[in-house]
């Protein structure tokens, strides 16, 4: 599959999910804070790294993995390398100055267990396995998680969990 084909296919697969997930991040004007809550964010270090990786490899996306070994790691691929499908949820986009928004996906089944958490993609020294694009650089993307607060839970239609968040 060419990147062009995936670019056409991926948003279509994601579109169905976005309504349910309510996770689409509007692209904020430069320097502004997003007006609505987002499920995903990126650390300054990871953002700078993504700029460098994009210069090498072209537009990128993330798919959050599960399972053993490097499971639970976010896998970063050139757009079109990994095919997302109807089984995936589009969690939102990372907005980094100077490059295209970076879509972040996770399988729907995994999302059922992750939906109460906000994810920040960070980067640490290391050498992840899998086919993630950054591992030859000696750095590895990593997920930092926090629980959604009550306002965010309401915004994502997770009212049942409001008030459960530990102080």
């Amino acid at each position: 599959m060419t990147p062009e084909q995936t670019a056409a296919a991926a948003p279509a697969a994601a579109a169905a999910e976005e309504a349910r997930v309510g996770a689409v991040t509007p692209a904020p004007a430069s320097g502004m804070v997003a007006a609505t809550p987002s499920r995903v964010d990126v650390s300054p270090e990871a953002a700078a790294f993504l700029v460098s990786l994009t210069a090498q490899h072209g537009p990128l996306m993330f798919h959050q993995s599960g399972g053993c070994c490097d499971g639970s790691s976010p896998m970063c691929y050139p757009v079109g390398f990994f095919r997302v499908g109807a089984v995936d949820v589009h969690l939102g986009d990372l907005h980094v100055d100077g490059i295209d928004p970076i879509e972040v996906y996770m399988s729907r089944s995994q999302f059922e267990y992750w939906k109460y958490t906000h994810l920040t993609i960070d980067v640490v020294p290391g050498r992840g396995a899998g086919f993630s694009i950054e591992s030859p650089e000696g750095r590895r993307f990593l997920i930092r998680s926090r629980l959604l607060d009550d306002d965010e839970l309401r915004a994502f239609g997770l009212d049942d969990a409001v008030g459960d968040t530990p102080a």
Partner: protein, 513 residues
């Protein structure tokens, strides 16, 4: 955690009395010889024991993979014609050489991966040796079949090798996981291109150096490198006939996507979040069996928790919960952490810095989710030369099965502990996971033990035991934990074609034309 400096410690590689001497650099092994990487580039390989670089390894790319696949196909022409007796003999000889060099391989494995030497000596390497012997025997005993379709028509079924196969190896048991894949593939008459994990690329070369003269050139080729640069070109190579992978779900999906383009089979082992279920009758007596169950509770520390079947969810029946978990926590407190090369060390280092960071990030989310920390919960600094190594204190969280620490394989010595009310509740919680690779059940009641084992949706249910991996017991996943069964002669099927000759012995025509 007790940090000790015991007397019986293996010398660290680099010292003159070390059991293994790593080379300063490892090339690829292609076509029976060491071959420099096409890129001319190498990457540094640190030991997780102290965080220091001890060798550098070829940074492979698609050109290297092409070369290895070509070499493998050249070798296949004659390798496929070897008799099963010849192949079995070679596998047995490999096992013998490994056995004669057990300590060398074990120290290499510990230095590359960080695992305690006593595990490498007692489990990793002996299991790998036995695995070669098992498949040497299995291939000798394998027969095709004949079917008598009618009096004059016979169907003959022959096993034939697939050809050249690709294998991508994980970093948690670098030698053993390689052998799980190599032994059936070679026994069946295939040639292999194997990519070790980039975190643990060195011990397989110690192995290769020992056995390289036993195998014809090109039958086993090793291409090192990063997943994206060497693993992906291997998995998507148009001239491999099968790809085998152990790892996580996203890469598993990606490998299936690549395999779908070439219409080749895959076997995948993708891990899990294994439940370890303790029924109330475990505590009926304070006897050897109770002691055994407490060991079972503590088994999440094996290989520093870096096991696809780590019993990382303990489910304990409410009626014994307080006492059993108190005893279990006390037992885990006795797990000795220290220099992985010491025979007294029970838990060593995590395999890489990013793995350490990931484990710490899960400890953080566990605390945020409101789980109660019963033990550990932080990084361990063992001091001295080990300060730079990647150590984590054995950790126990008490919480609910819906928490993320109960649902994701942290791949560290982190136990998520919860209770259940009755049998149905136990099965419900045990099966409330995306995965189904391993599980444990503990009970003095044989019928309950049997029923629970059948009701838990996992490929391997250890019943009144855990973490045994004998050759001859099929190992593989339900649900999102993968496809295929390793560790058993049925794995031969995953590396073989079936050739059917349908033969007519009738004298006359069929009568259609």
């Amino acid at each position: 955690m007790t940090v000790t400096t015991p007397p019986n410690t293996y010398a660290a590689p680099g010292r003159p009395d070390a059991k293994v001497a790593f080379k300063p650099r490892y090339d690829h092994f292609i076509g029976g010889e060491y071959v420099a990487p096409a890129s001319g580039q190498y990457f540094e390989n640190p030991s997780p024991v102290n965080g220091k670089v001890f060798t550098e390894v070829a940074r492979g790319n698609a050109a290297d993979v092409d070369k290895a696949v070509e070499a493998a196909w050249r070798a296949f022409d004659s390798w496929k014609k070897t008799t099963i007796a010849q192949r079995a003999l070679i596998l047995n000889r490999i096992a013998d050489v490994m056995e004669a060099n057990l300590e060398m391989l074990a120290v290499a494995e510990t230095w590359d991966n960080g695992k305690p030497i006593r595990e490498a000596l007692a489990a990793d390497v002996p299991l790998a040796i036995d695995h070669f012997r098992y498949f040497a025997g299995a291939i000798r005993a394998q027969e095709g079949s004949t079917g008598e379709i009618d009096a004059d028509t016979v169907a003959y079924h022959f096993h034939e090798p697939l050809g050249v196969v690709g294998q991508i190896i994980p970093w948690n048991f670098p030698l053993l996981m390689a052998v799980w894949k190599l032994a059936p593939a070679l026994a069946a008459g295939n040639c292999v291109v194997l990519k070790p994990a980039e975190q643990t690329p060195a011990s397989i070369h110690v192995f290769m150096d020992l056995v390289k003269d036993l195998l014809p050139a090109g039958v086993l080729n090793i291409v090192n490198g990063f997943g994206v640069e060497a693993g992906a070109p291997l998995a998507s190579h148009p001239n491999i006939r099968k790809i085998a992978f152990t790892g996580e779900t996203t890469t598993g999906r990606l490998i299936m996507q690549m395999a779908s383009e070439n219409l080749i089979p895959v076997t995948l082992e993708l891990g899990g979040k294994s439940p370890n279920v303790f029924f109330a009758d475990v505590a009926d007596e304070r006897d050897d069996f109770y002691d055994k169950a407490l060991e079972g509770f503590s088994f999440f520390n094996l290989n520093s928790g870096e096991v696809c079947t780590c019993p990382s969810r303990a489910l304990v029946q409410q009626s014994i919960y307080d006492q059993f978990t108190a005893d279990g926590v006390e037992r885990v407190k006795k797990v000795k952490q220290g220099d992985p090369l010491s025979m007294d060390t029970m838990i060593g280092a995590q395999a890489s810095n990013d793995q350490l960071e990931k484990i710490l990030s899960y400890m953080d989310i566990g605390k945020q989710e409101g789980a109660t920390l019963l033990l550990g919960g932080d990084r361990a600094d063992l001091g001295g030369d080990l300060t730079g190594g990647y150590y984590v204190n054995p950790t126990i969280f008490e919480g609910r099965n819906s928490m993320r620490i109960f649902q994701e394989e942290i791949f560290g010595p982190v136990l998520s502990l919860t209770s259940f009310s009755d049998y149905d509740d136990a099965i419900k919680i045990a099966n409330d996971t995306l995965y189904g690779l391993g599980a444990g059940v503990w009970s003095r009641n044989g019928a309950q033990l049997y029923r629970a084992g059948r009701d838990i949706q996992a490929g391997r249910v250890w019943s009144n035991t855990y973490h045994q991996y004998p050759a001859g017991a099929a190992f593989g996943g339900y649900k999102q934990s993968g496809i295929g069964r390793e560790n058993h002669k049925m794995m031969l099927d995953h590396y073989q074609q079936t050739k059917n000759l349908l033969v007519s012995y009738a004298d006359g025509p069929m009568g259609f034309f």
